[in-house]
């Protein structure tokens, strides 16, 4: 208890100050006066403003007491109080709690192995391979999606609604809104329920399992050193991994990052180089029979992720991030809890996303009807041709803005008709992954980061994505790479 020695003369002790301040507090704060006094002594800004507002008359005297008290302590008052409290807690625990001698349980052994890079990094790769590639990518994005698309939508929903719409809607143009190529039923509902729903549900299930097993903090501690190089701390793995599910939701989760600088870097990287599950699903489907193109795509995206992060951390002012995180014990997740979490997340996603899907369908319908889209598509044909893609691909890019996955799905259709070779496929996937975030994420960027930053990020990405794709196309072509 050596710190106790620092205590000033008794009339200036913290305890005296608390009492004096308590007597000066005349308003009702719901919390006790003592509690408010202690928070004031710790210089809590919010409570200070509250008291300034509610106890105007005595505020200056309270401030004087705080100033005086601080002078008599070598350490910040919050530190002194924490030490005092700690002693009190220890005293109580000593009487009512018994600890058995520490022993290292099998769980603890596994936990330590997972945090040791020698075993932990291979284990991490295995988790990502099994979880993201096998479970989300193959099971979710292929098996379940194929079943829903071919056995439910193509067989029942689409034919049924086509017949129905033809019968009750007399105008072809209006029929198009519901059952056309980009119609509400044929596109919005089909993509939402047959493609997006299964992929996101499977992803969120995987994420909730990771979360409840206590694995994420171990991942964070393994990756902290690497993330520090790109201006982030290990804590940022949580939004980053979530970004593989829904980058829009992940952008919202960047709130857990303690500094504005980290939040900006994470938002930029999520918008630029982290493909969401919907996109990932379609990209996997596009590249599944072309492992070399898949490798090129993954390599380029990873490289861009690290490069842009590194450069941003060099340019953005602000202090280096600090990392601290509690490592909870490994647990076997409770199934019902995982299910509830997954359900709540999928529900959030749908309530947030479904209206945007519908709007996108309506906007695309209007855009096509009024030929504004033809104009925009023509404008995009220039840059699209410049990166070596057929002009039809510009449609995929434009629609990609309304939903990133629409864009990816547009390419999917193009590929189904064998219009792209391996290099074009890789370049297109890189461009689309990097390209402007979907409209939902665009709005979220602005909501979370403000107009200037949100818009700045989008303009940067627009230019940057095409530049990278342009360079990649030239490199691959001049090396005569065949993918």
């Amino acid at each position: 208890m050596e710190k106790r020695d620092y205590k000033g003369p008794i009339e200036n002790s913290i305890e005296m100050a608390i009492e004096k301040i308590e007597n000066l507090l005349k308003s009702d704060y719901y919390l006790s006066g003592r509690s408010i006094a202690i928070l004031l002594l710790q210089e809590d800004e919010e409570i200070r403003n509250l008291v300034k507002e509610k106890d105007v008359a005595n505020f200056d005297r309270i401030e004087d007491i705080i100033k005086d008290t601080k002078l008599h302590y070598a350490n910040p008052i919050s530190y002194e109080l924490a030490i005092e409290r700690q002693d009190e807690v220890k005293d109580i625990l000593g009487r009512y709690v018994k600890f058995e001698k520490d022993r290292i349980s099998p769980q603890e052994k596994l936990s330590r192995a997972l945090m040791n890079p020698l075993f932990g990094i291979p284990a991490l790769l295995l988790v990502l391979y099994l979880g993201l590639y096998k479970f989300v990518g193959q099971f979710g994005a292929e098996t379940v999606v194929n079943f829903l698309e071919s056995s439910i939508f193509d067989k029942y929903v689409t034919p049924f609604s086509t017949v129905l719409a033809a019968r009750i809607i007399p105008w072809i143009a209006l029929q198009d809104l519901f059952i056309g190529e980009y119609g509400i039923v044929t596109m919005a509902f089909r993509y939402a329920f047959a493609i997006i729903l299964p992929i996101t549900a499977v992803f969120f299930l995987f994420f909730s399992l990771l979360e409840d097993s206590g694995y994420l903090p171990r991942l964070a501690m393994l990756i902290d050193r690497t993330f520090k190089k790109i201006g982030l701390s290990g804590r940022a793995v949580i939004p980053m991994v979530l970004g593989f599910g829904c980058a829009t939701m992940a952008t919202m989760v960047t709130r857990i990052l303690p500094t504005k600088r980290e939040r900006i870097i994470a938002t930029l990287l999520l918008a630029l180089a982290v493909p969401c599950s919907a996109q990932l699903g379609v990209i996997m489907a596009l590249l599944q029979h072309n492992p070399k193109a898949l490798l090129v795509w993954a390599g380029v995206i990873l490289f861009i992720f690290l490069l842009v992060g590194y450069l941003t951390s060099k340019i953005l002012p602000g202090e280096r991030p600090s990392f601290y995180m509690e490592i909870p014990p490994l647990r076997i997740p409770s199934l019902s809890n995982v299910m509830i979490k997954t359900y709540v997340r999928v529900k959030w996603y749908f309530l947030e996303i479904m209206p945007l899907f519908l709007w996108a369908s309506v906007l695309i319908w209007i855009g096509r009807l009024t030929r504004v889209f033809d104009l925009l598509i023509n404008l995009l044909k220039g840059p699209v041709s410049a990166i070596g893609l057929p002009p039809e691909a510009s449609k995929a890019f434009l629609f990609g803005f309304f939903r990133r996955d629409y864009g990816a799905a547009g390419l999917y259709d193009l590929n189904a008709h064998n219009k792209l070779d391996g290099v074009q496929l890789a370049v297109a996937c890189v461009a689309l992954t990097l390209f402007l975030p979907c409209i939902a994420q665009f709005l979220m960027n602005i909501k979370e980061r403000g107009w200037k930053t949100g818009l700045g990020i989008s303009v940067f990405i627009l230019v940057f994505s095409f530049s990278v794709a342009y360079a990649l196309n030239i490199i691959l072509r001049s090396l005569v790479v065949v993918l």
């Binding site: 704060y29 719901y30 919390l31 006790s32 003592r34 509690s35 202690i38 928070l39 710790q42 809590d44 919010e46 509250l50 919050s78 924490a82 409290r85 700690q86 009190e88 807690v89 220890k90 109580i92 625990l93 009487r95 009512y96 709690v97 018994k98 600890f99 058995e100 001698k101 022993r103 349980s105 919202m252 709130r255 303690p258 509690e326 909870p328 014990p329 647990r331 409770s334 809890n337 509830i340 709540v344 979370e448």
Partner: protein, 167 residues
């Protein structure tokens, strides 16, 4: 009859949400706390004919706040004036988490202390004299394993009892 308010408070990752779900059964609303980006869930609970509003507050380590979550949790305590505050903590980390209990008691709130995740604490060889703690702190103390639904009935009893005694 007016609806009584219960706030669930505690560190992050101690099972507050699980406890919230166990008490309320049905989700009522998840919304951003006014002026912030922090989400707060509110639900209803009926206990022996008495209606309660239950608020699941964001994680807090201490009344002295550093993060936005902690500020929101504290604002809920100040502005919503809960009749009962349930402090949930991880029983095996009693040493670090009892600090907040002491702060809540010091703030003159009606605190019920929930020692959650008791199964892990027992596995770690920790034994807690809950009734001794109850007498020392002069507040109700309940041991629970919220994920398995253990101790929830006991907690409800204490909530009801609290309601009759002190409110």
């Amino acid at each position: 009859m007016s609806v009584k308010k219960i706030a669930i408070a505690g560190n992050p990752n101690v099972g507050k949400s699980v406890l919230f779900n166990a008490l309320t059964k049905q989700y009522v609303a998840v919304s951003n706390y006014p002026g912030t980006t922090v989400e707060v869930s509110r639900g209803r609970m009926n206990l022996e004919g008495e209606e309660y509003e239950v608020i699941d507050t964001p994680g807090m380590y201490s009344l002295y706040s550093i993060t936005e979550e902690e500020r929101v949790a504290r604002r809920i305590l100040i502005n919503e004036r809960p009749d009962i505050v349930i402090h949930v903590l991880d029983a095996k980390n009693l040493e670090r988490m009892l600090l907040l209990t002491l702060q809540l008691i010091e703030a003159d709130l009606n605190v019920i202390l929930v020692l959650n995740i008791m199964d892990e604490a027992v596995k770690e060889g920790i034994s807690i004299d809950a009734s001794g703690l109850e007498k020392e702190l002069k507040i109700p103390v309940v041991e629970t394993v919220a994920t398995a639904g253990k101790g929830i009935d006991e907690l409800k009893k204490k909530i009801g009892g609290y309601g009759k005694k002190r409110l």
